[in-house]
Symmetry: C2
Subunit: 497 residues, 2 copies
């Protein structure tokens, strides 16, 4: 038996100035959100991290259903041959597929188990890196008439991409996501769907996650493998790097032709369906951390937080604490009546200090401390995660005070992030200036001729990629920042996660 | 391009008398719940089937959280060596593991893709058949003190067991489930947890699914691989066969010792933790179908049904239908106010007959038909899925009429299932009588000496297994039905899915 198994449990959080990458990992550890697993590149999402993901799921799932989609579930495994049917798609994913080749283990003469060579599969399967192929195969059977359209399907699932350099939440071999897959009678309808779902993501990012984003179209080289057009929302992290936070794809008819998804239109003419797909993943958890947290730990925006308010009773051992608990219950029910998500931390064996510290690291927006001294003044102590001071607030108006604090915190987080995005987005006309400034991070609005050659050279020389061609072209394009040919549009260049 | 891709879409449902197995598959097809996939033994859960599974998830998830558990997420893949650590566990699962051996595909010179031999993994992974090993590995890091206990974790996940004979929902290579995994300081606490979660399952089965069950303990030979004790709820299907509907396991300290899950107790003495696990799966969908459905299709108990009431407006083409739609909206909002889950089927391109038939096959408990003729009498037509007649009910008391119909249907389904369970459970003392009667199905309460030898011989001779040793021993045990030695208990023997 071994002892003291968690020596680093209470290790301090590295500051952002000191080491931003280490700070990110420290926040995840300190908030008890997730950890690396014994499986290469795969993470374990711990209960607190998962409760935040469940909030993301619930809110987005409601939106996905409101917009007419239905959830379904398709197989984890995809026959190898399916992947090859759409040429760009297989090109994009073949290199990172986990492959199932056998269906049985057997006892090894040397102890333990070995793969049973007699249980080799005739055709190998890959673990889904994304589900277009297996879902489109179903669509080909489900769709036969215009009456079956639009077909609006969503799936919450685990997927796997064998990444070489992994980073918890941001790039893991296995991750969780939702993937929408739809089929339409016309190209216009498919385009409308793609735009609608990107807008759902934008609103979610900005209103729930307090994370302003730039919405726009990806350049051809950054498109999803098999898509005609890819749209994205891009957020700026605290270090000035971009994080792609949600994508929506017009797939055109490429997959329809590969999988024979046809329908008889109202004139009984056979047509290929127009497809879309769109998704967000547990990457959003990384975006959350790097949008709002500080050197003391995570900060969760109130609209997202599983726990918006934690109440910590201050107990005196050996004394009568009943008045404290009466008021704790009172405040709890006041909160519940006002739709505030509240948790009472009445654990034994933990000191008041340990509890306060834990909830601070976990980024719960509001902490209420209540003890005999507070009650003498018929008040409690309210601590906002984004403010430095402690406030005494009256018990009589406690729900109002908490609600106001939550509104303030949500606004503060959004405004800080918006301020960062604005102040660190640069409209430049000079390539050398760009090469110099990119070293400090930020988004760069640059005129681009549209040629992959220029995009590639910029990437090689600066490590910056085109995050998107924003829908809102605030400044007119001039000549390409690199080749000086006339440019039709500005693109946002940045280094990215 | 191919046409008429769904020739069997509207094929009639085989009657139960004709062919019970085919009837089961026909109901699934007719209700559009699920279908087989191109992946061996794996199913596709279609939107309607998935909406029922989502209801199961939501209701159980609330219960699991109310009882103090938190959700988390662990890797899909399990290092092969983990499986071997607990001897019984690997013995139970090695033969049905999908094995990941490579992490890359590459283009084949003959077209398509092949497994890249250079991307062979050093250690293979299996796709989780269940997650004890990977979760217990985490527990060994997460638990160090009595303050960390009890640790109460649940996971909703897909799992894979390479079954040779598969049957949609009942036995599929991939299925969805929840798996609870907990650690406790004492054996008593672990036993209490195991009993508590079995009770959660029992109440869910009986009160939500309207499915009476027998709760009890499994015989040693039917235990979960690695458990000290396994408890189960067993339901009787319409053909008299048993379906194991949920299990809860006392794992003792076997896994704790294999994975070194220790904690310092209050006296700073190191102890091994006591573990449990418990789960229900998409098998419950099979139990649902075979508990209640009839020759016209599925019947979903109102407490479970995603849609409790469907309203079908009767539209006259070319006429003014506004009065019908006004009343449809009125009834919808009346339903919503009373917490009734309602859906309006206002699809164009589908006839009234097609719609009625579809909802009947999908087993929606109540159908409301409303047309100009109904409105003349200020009434609507209410069709209950379990009654043969159509009722005219007044619009003024519509919510009450619907609520009453839902209560009646839930009771009817439970009572029918209870009546079946009672009338087809036989307390027998004579082995030859049992051998004769088992051919017609049913549960058999037989005295059993407790020896695996007798259990095995009975299984060989009758295909009946011990479903459980019921907690409620209504009839005292006599002598073992086979060996005639004194028996301490009666066990329920039955053929099972």
């Amino acid at each position: 038996m071994s002892n003291n198994k968690n020596p680093h449990k209470d290790k301090a959080i590295t500051t952002r100035d000191e080491d931003y990458s280490q700070w990110y990992l420290d926040v995840i550890r300190a908030a008890d959100m997730a950890e690396n697993s014994p499986v290469r590149g795969a993470m374990i999402i711990k209960p607190y991290g998962f409760s935040i993901w469940e909030r993301i799921q619930r809110i987005l799932d409601d939106k996905i259903k409101e917009t007419g989609h239905q959830n379904a579930y398709f197989p984890l495994l995809i026959p190898k041959s399916f992947l090859s049917r759409e040429a760009d798609h297989v090109e994009g994913f073949a290199k990172e597929c986990a492959v199932v080749t056998h269906h049985r283990l057997k006892a090894s003469p040397e102890g333990g188990v070995i793969v049973d060579p007699d249980a080799k599969l005739e055709e190998e399967y890959v673990i889904r890196p994304t589900s277009e192929t297996i879902i489109h195969d179903s669509f080909s059977r489900w769709i036969s008439s215009y009456r079956d359209l639009p077909m609006l399907i969503n799936q919450w699932a685990n997927v796997m991409r064998w990444e070489m350099r992994t980073r918890i939440f941001l790039r893991t071999s296995e991750f969780l996501w939702q993937e929408g897959h739809t089929a339409h009678a016309t190209q216009d309808e498919a385009a409308e769907e793609t735009a609608k779902m990107l807008e759902v993501y934008r609103v979610f990012a900005e209103e729930v996650m307090a994370m302003p984003v730039i919405a726009g179209e990806k350049s051809p080289s950054e498109r999803f493998a098999g898509a005609n057009k890819t749209f994205t929302i891009e957020a700026m992290m605290q270090d000035g790097k971009a994080l792609q936070s949600g994508t929506s794809h017009e797939l055109g008819q490429g997959f329809s032709k590969a999988f024979n998804i046809t329908f008889l239109d109202q004139e009984s003419k056979e047509q290929y369906a127009w497809l879309t797909s769109w998704g967000v993943s547990t990457r959003l958890m990384g975006a959350l951390i790097m949008s709002h947290s500080d050197d003391r730990g995570l900060i969760v925006p109130p609209a997202l937080a599983p726990t918006q308010v934690v109440i910590i009773p201050i107990i005196k051992e050996g004394k009568d604490n009943s008045e404290v608990f009466t008021h704790v219950d009172l405040i709890k029910s006041e909160c519940a009546q006002n739709g505030i998500r509240v948790h009472i931390d009445d654990r034994d064996h933990f000191t008041f200090g340990e509890k306060s510290y834990e909830w601070e690291k976990k980024g719960v927006p509001v902490r209420i401390e209540i003890g005999p001294r507070d009650l003498e003044n018929h008040s409690v102590t309210l601590v906002s995660r984004t403010a430095d001071d402690k406030q005494q607030v009256s018990i009589d108006s406690i729900a109002d005070s908490i609600s106001q604090a939550l509104v303030d915190i949500q606004a503060t987080l959004y405004n800080n992030a918006q301020e960062r995005l604005t102040s660190r987005t640069f409209v430049l006309e000079n390539y050398n200036e760009f090469k110099e400034k990119i070293e400090a991070g930020g988004f760069f609005s640059l005129s681009w001729c549209g040629e992959a050659k220029c995009e590639d050279q910029i990437k090689d020389e600066t490590k910056a990629t085109i995050r998107c061609i924003p829908f809102e072209q605030n400044t007119p394009a001039t000549n390409c920042i690199l080749c000086d040919q006339p440019a039709k549009q500005r693109a946002i260049f940045a280094r990215a996660y």
